[in-house]
């Protein structure tokens, strides 16, 4: 479980998050939704200790992110930010191999190498493994970053808009892989997602944010209603049904 208690955050004097308290349930796929600028990335970065916590408390599986040694946290959660630029010039295989670093600290063993190969294959990157990051397409690079987080092999996986740049087939494949991680490997996943139907179809739990506050949270079917979504995005949105799950008709 990720427990967030009274977290507030400001950047340059402007309040970004207002006194947020919520939980992300363990063993579930949680989707964070909300309009641009709602504070989703900021909240995820605070959980992933990419930003220092200013006020409040966050624990991930019982580890206080403000006080737990950072290398210990790297074996509990993996976080992939919205901006995925990498400074060094790396081959895809090298990038994914960095996901094992928290475990071997520079001395990879055969198990680490096997895990990297597995992650490359899982994201259809094996044929591209020897290419440099700047020699592949945006979606392929995005998959490599996800594969790196995947190779980190942590109980918690935090992904900020992982569907960015992915085509329909790869987006669906990613969601089904995340679903499998949750259902069969006992992992927990939290992801920011804009395409609301991915949340509707795959997520167990939805947290809706607006203007730095959580305005609704709960099972997907309860949160993704016409009234709530229209209010969340300040636009009339119709919601239908498909295979027993909400189908959001936001594009018409």
């Amino acid at each position: 479980m990720i427990q967030i208690d009274q977290v507030s955050h400001q950047i340059g004097g402007t309040p970004i998050l207002h006194d947020i308290s919520t939980t992300l349930p363990k063993g579930r796929l949680t989707a964070l939704i909300g309009p641009n600028g709602a504070g989703k990335s900021t909240l995820l970065r605070l959980i992933g200790r990419l930003e220092p916590l200013q006020a409040g408390r966050i624990t991930v599986a019982g580890h206080d992110v403000a006080t737990t040694p950072t290398d210990r946290l790297a074996r509990v959660m993996a976080i992939l930010g919205q901006q995925t630029a990498i400074a060094s010039r790396l081959r895809l295989s090298e990038l994914v191999a960095f996901g094992r670093w928290p475990h071997h600290k520079g001395r990879p063993g055969p198990a680490d190498r096997a895990r990297v190969t597995q992650a490359l294959e899982a994201f259809a990157l094996a044929p591209l493994a020897h290419r440099f990051l700047d020699e592949v397409s945006g979606g392929q690079a995005q998959r490599a970053h996800i594969a790196m987080a995947f190779a980190q092999d942590t109980d918690w996986l935090l992904l900020d808009e992982p569907l960015n740049n992915l085509d329909m087939a790869h987006a669906r494949a990613l969601m089904s892989r995340l679903r499998a991680l949750v259902d069969h490997a006992g992992r927990s996943v939290a992801m920011v997602v804009h395409e609301i139907n991915y949340a509707a179809a795959w997520a167990d739990h939805v947290i809706a944010m607006k203007d730095g506050r959580v305005i609704a949270e709960g099972p997907a079917a309860e949160v993704l209603t016409e009234a709530l979504l229209s209010d969340l995005y300040d636009a009339p949105i119709r919601v239908g049904q498909h295979l027993g799950r909400p189908l959001v008709l936001h594009h018409v």
């Binding site: 992933g48 200790r49 990419l50 950072t70 290398d71 210990r72 946290l73 790297a74 074996r75 993996a78 976080i79 992939l80 930010g81 901006q83 630029a85 990498i86 400074a87 060094s88 010039r89 790396l90 081959r91 295989s93 090298e94 191999a97 960095f98 996901g99 670093w101 928290p102 600290k105 520079g106 001395r107 190498r113 990297v116 190969t117 490359l120 294959e121 899982a122 994201f123 259809a124 990157l125 094996a126 044929p127 591209l128 493994a129 020897h130 987080a149 980190q152 087939a169 790869h170 494949a173 990613l174 892989r177």
Partner: protein
């Protein structure tokens, strides 16, 4: 997704593709070749045209100069790679960011406050070590703040560095004008680059300090690889980002102090060397990059100095040529938009 992963055509053509990072012998071969070339150059440097008379004396002189050149080369090469890693940028060098100007300023201020005579009175070794300590603390604070705050904005970093460099240099220049001419002479010797004049008194200490700093950097190579990814990925992989950044900056300051004390500031030499190391090795692994930078710097300096001093009879000075070539390379990198 899986069906594409197993595309038989691609898999058959690249059977090794999925094997992850294959053990690559290229870096080891190149490093070996560079070490051999350096040994050859060193032998030529020591033995060329050695007459029968005064052998011991000449060999001693040559050995001192060789040691100084190699020390400076290693310090410049390694410090540039370290700085580029910590700044996540291939265009910056410690000199461009004003590290050596800071060292010259520190010297000037020390000479003024302690007085030229007092300074000469201090044992040179103790004074050197004190300078290195102050320099590391200053650089870590100053550049640490700069990097930990706004590392993502590269143009701003370059601008800040250039302005800092100009600031340090002009303050030193101003202090130089108002100070006693005798005292100024002490400062002037570290203000301009020259490979012909090497301060030999500091050499043994400088060599020891360089060896120590390089050994520490080498031990950090796995962490440097992670640091080079950039802040977010490094933190997410559990690197103590702040601590490692400050430690690396302190090492850079130590190495820049050594090279500046021995031959004066060399602005663009590091850029050539780091460019060579990255270009030759084609890897981001610091365990390979650091020795490659040290070796290529040593080859360039020893070879270049041999050429200019012995073959061209000082018709031109190596420092000028190196700076000119380095400056051109800097412009080339900027124009190609390789600001990364």
């Amino acid at each position: 997704m899986d069906s594409r992963a197993l595309d038989p055509g691609i898999a058959a053509r690249r059977p090794e593709a999925a094997a992850g990072p294959a053990p690559d012998r290229r870096p080891a071969l190149i490093l070996g070749g560079m070490a051999l070339l350096l040994a050859l150059l060193a032998a030529v440097w020591m033995l060329q045209g050695l007459g029968p008379g005064n052998r011991g004396f000449i060999l001693g002189l040559r050995a001192t100069k060789l040691a100084a050149l190699v020390t400076v080369a290693v310090a410049v090469g390694v410090s540039t790679i370290l700085f580029q890693t910590v700044a996540a940028n291939r265009v910056l060098t410690p000199s461009i960011m004003g590290f050596d100007a800071l060292y010259v300023l520190l010297q000037t201020v020390l000479v003024i406050t302690l007085g030229g005579a007092g300074l000469v009175g201090l044992p040179p070794g103790a004074k050197f070590l004190a300078e290195i300590a102050v320099m590391s603390a200053l650089a870590a604070t100053l550049f640490g703040t700069l990097l930990l705050r706004g590392a993502r904005d590269v143009p701003r970093m370059i601008l800040t560095g250039v302005i800092l460099g100009v600031l340090f240099r002009s303050v030193s220049g101003f202090l130089g004008r108002i100070m006693d001419p005798n005292e100024f002479a002490v400062v002037q010797s570290v203000s301009f680059a020259s490979f012909n004049r090497v301060d030999a008194t500091l050499l043994p200490l400088a060599m020891a300090v360089t060896a120590l700093a390089v050994a520490l950097a080498w031990r950090m190579s796995a962490r440097l690889d992670v640091l080079a990814l950039g802040r977010d990925p490094a933190v997410s992989l559990g690197l103590a980002h702040r601590g490692v950044t400050l430690a690396v900056l302190a090492l850079v300051a130590v190495l820049v102090s050594v090279s500046t004390a021995l031959v004066g500031p060399v602005a663009f030499f590091g850029l050539i060397v780091a460019g060579l190391a990255h270009g030759l090795m084609r890897t981001a692994a610091h365990a390979v990059l650091l020795p490659a930078a040290g070796l290529s710097a040593a080859i360039l300096l020893v070879g270049g100095q041999w050429l200019f001093e012995r073959q061209l009879g000082q018709a031109a000075t190596l420092s000028v040529v190196v700076e000119f070539a380095g400056g051109l390379f800097f412009l080339y990198l900027l124009l190609k938009g390789r600001i990364r």
